[in-house]
Amino acid sequence: MSKIIKLRKGLDINLQGKAAESLVEVPMAAEYAVSPLDYEGVTPKLLVKVGDKVKAGTPLFFDKNNTRVLYTSPVSGTVSAVNRGEKRKVLNVTVAADKEQVSEEFTALDLKKATRDEVIEMLLKSGLWTMIIQRPYGIVANPADMPKAVFVSAFDSAPLAPDFNFALKGEKANLQKGFEVLAKLAGNAPHLSLRAKSEGEMASLNGVELHTFAGKHPVGNVGVQIHHIDPINKGDIVWTVAIQDVAAIGRLFLTGKVDLHKVVALTGSEVEKPQYYRIISGAPVASIVKGNIKAQKEGDKVRIISGNVLTGKKVAEDGFISAAASQITVIPEGDKYEMLGWIAPRFGKFSTSRSYFSWLCPKKQYKLDTNLNGGPRAFVVTGLFEQYLPMDIYPMYLFKAIIANDIDKMENLGIYEIVEEDVALCEFVDPSKTEIQTLVRNGINLMIKEC
């Protein structure tokens, strides 16, 4: 095993509502959804209409910008709706699930003999290709590219993140197969990053290049890990896959069936009983949240987040769990005025600044709401973002280059190495309340358009 890579920068936000290590098997829900909005820059072209019968793995739509990539149904059933927003933009395609689940059949490949193209073809047809994300930019990979390497992070360090050692119990064979598939894609051993002191059984996987990381969030972000293992330079392409998706890919190649089971953690201060749930990808939020939210006082609302509090998406209670989420977080809405709050001691509030008292009790678990805690301002404070981005990047200069639409500077200052999640902590700590994740995505989209 290689030496431990220790990161000094970062921040662990201690929140209430960590998931207990108990797993609930969620029964089949009535409806499942696939949304093009779960992926960056996808323009969907529908392949089904309402009333069509589909199986698990039947394509629902493809991406006009990346035409070989199919987005398939996670379950078998009947297409029940194509929901559209403004300008007829497709929001999601829902499938009413059958009682008896059937999957499209794929012939299991012998990975020793199969060519790279055959492997790619199987991933594309089954829809599991959408799990392969390209860096730079954080978009679904282009099957025509040849990546430098594939990177997988075995742990998530975000607030209240699920423990994958628990979530992936019993999936070792699938993981092993999945990594063999990934090895085929890049032609070299995939990089797998473990968390020091909780390596778990993933440390014994074969055919992967293991790395061990220690430190605070964002140490679990694959982008941060790549920066310390083999940074992305101009012209480089690497692919990343989430650890649960590696297991799903392994399952496909072992059984020839599309089986999109995954485990999500239900977390957050407003959850009655935070724990783990086994669902099928695209399941309704209500299937795990219903009846599990603490009773609220009159006028109080909660926010349900598909993902973690830093990078997740706000969803309605009748919405669906997004494809990449392995966690649902429920926290109180902060739509309340607070008299002279900026000057008060505010003992219950969490801050990285010592102008509050949260530094006195580093172990305390906080119940944070969604209040912005201030108004948007120009950048004033300096030297702060650097402490929360463990990369050799000058974040403030990069953000200013993005604001100025200066492509050369963005490239020189490291836009290829980051996606939104890597700067989420900068956004969290910023006293000027700038929308930094949105800013970075706009910068990335400009790079995609111009380069």
Partner: protein, 376 residues
């Protein structure tokens, strides 16, 4: 709290755009957000946010200024022969008009600009307005303060786009404007002492050179180093007590609001050049005197650390800080026309800081490019 909230909610429509007093929207918003942290929730990006905001940041800077401010009041009184509480009270009454003028003129201009830009009023002036009376001699006429403030806010800040966009520290711009526009009134031996006769103050014939001027001309001062450290010397209102300034500095460093890199390197730069000049025989007094007299400590703790106008990279902060301290001592020792060099040193380094940062960032870009070469 609920009653007040109701009142604010009731009058709010009048002050929002389209309302009868819509042209006062920014002003109203400033008052509303002063009274209440707004109920805005996160819409994009991170769903939870750190509790710190610009208001609290700026408030803590003002809090850090309080010890030096109170000592300034006391010293103003004690320089005209008062003692104890009477001295403090005298100084407080003496400086309040200046503070009021600074805030009324400065905030007035800020609010007008915020309204024109349809933005919220930025909190930067909260600190600037407090700093300005503290770096002026106590008997500066109020109209000069008003003029200096107006010049600083308009030409030092708003023409660049407001708080966060300015190149020069606005408080120092005000000081420099007053200093250069009214040099005869702003120097000499009388301006450092209050001229108000109330409360039995002995103002007749009180005059004398500051410690800095004495050091520059004779190489000695009439006060002990301890007096200078505690602050019982004439000088600008808030700058005399190094002890009280350091107390405020400690708060700024502890809360992480000011950069320890800048602060430390300003002192290091001043001390290094002080020793250098002592070693070559240009000065006869000990080098650490530089840190105790004049505006050195005040500038190092409260002005050079201004995050907007100082260097923005960590390495840049060391460099700019060191050069600021060194330059201040250089001006003091070598230039006979200016016994005080701190103001000019900070302003000069404000102008140079972006260039220093530029080279630091260029080095990072170069590292990134070298990485490509190494990979091949």
């Amino acid at each position: 709290m609920k009653g007040l909230r109701k009142i604010v909610d009731n009058v709010k429509p009048t002050f929002t755009e389209g309302g009868k007093l819509g042209f006062l929207a920014s002003f109203f918003d400033a008052i509303e957000t002063f009274l209440f942290v707004p109920n805005t929730t996160t819409q994009k990006g991170a769903h939870v946010r750190d509790a710190i905001d610009m208001k609290r940041t700026m408030f803590f800077v003002v809090l850090a200024l309080i010890p030096a401010f109170l000592f300034g009041c006391f010293n103003t009184g004690s320089q005209v022969g008062l003692e104890g509480f009477a001295a403090l009270w005298y100084g407080l009454v003496r400086v309040l008009p200046m503070l009021a003028v600074s805030y009324v003129v400065g905030l007035g201009i800020e609010i007008v600009y915020a309204q024109i830009r349809k933005e919220e009023v930025a909190e930067g002036y909260f600190v600037t307005g407090f700093l300005i009376p503290m770096i002026m001699p106590v008997s500066t006429p109020l109209w000069m303060v008003a003029l200096g403030v107006a010049f600083a806010v308009i030409f030092g800040k708003e023409v660049f786009g407001g708080t966060g966009m300015n190149i020069f520290n606005p408080a120092l711009v005000a000081r420099a404007f007053v200093f250069f526009a009214f040099t005869p009134q702003m120097s000499g031996e009388k301006v450092w002492y209050s001229d108000w006769t109330m409360m039995g103050a002995q103002v007749d014939g009180v005059s004398g050179a500051t410690a800095l001027e004495q050091l520059a001309t004779t190489g000695q001062m009439q006060w002990s180093a301890m007096d200078a450290f505690l602050g019982f010397i004439p000088g600008s209102f808030g700058e005399t007590s190094t002890l009280c300034i350091l107390l405020g500095g400690a708060l700024l460093l502890f809360t992480g609001i000011a950069s320890w890199r800048t602060m430390l390197s300003v002192f290091a730069g001043g001390l290094a050049f002080g020793y250098l000049f002592q070693a070559v025989g240009l000065t006869e007094f000990p080098a650490y005197y530089h840190l105790l007299v004049g505006g050195f400590a005040f500038g190092a703790v409260f002005m050079a650390t201004d995050p907007v106008t100082s260097a923005q990279t960590n390495l840049g902060k060391y460099i700019v800080g060191f050069m600021t301290g060194a330059l201040a001592v250089l001006v003091r020792v070598v230039n006979p026309a200016y016994p005080e060099g701190m103001m000019l040193a900070i302003l000069f380094m404000n102008a140079l800081a972006p260039t220093v940062d530029y080279f630091v960032v260029e080095a990072n870009i170069k590292r990134r490019k070298n990485r490509v070469k190494l990979a091949k």
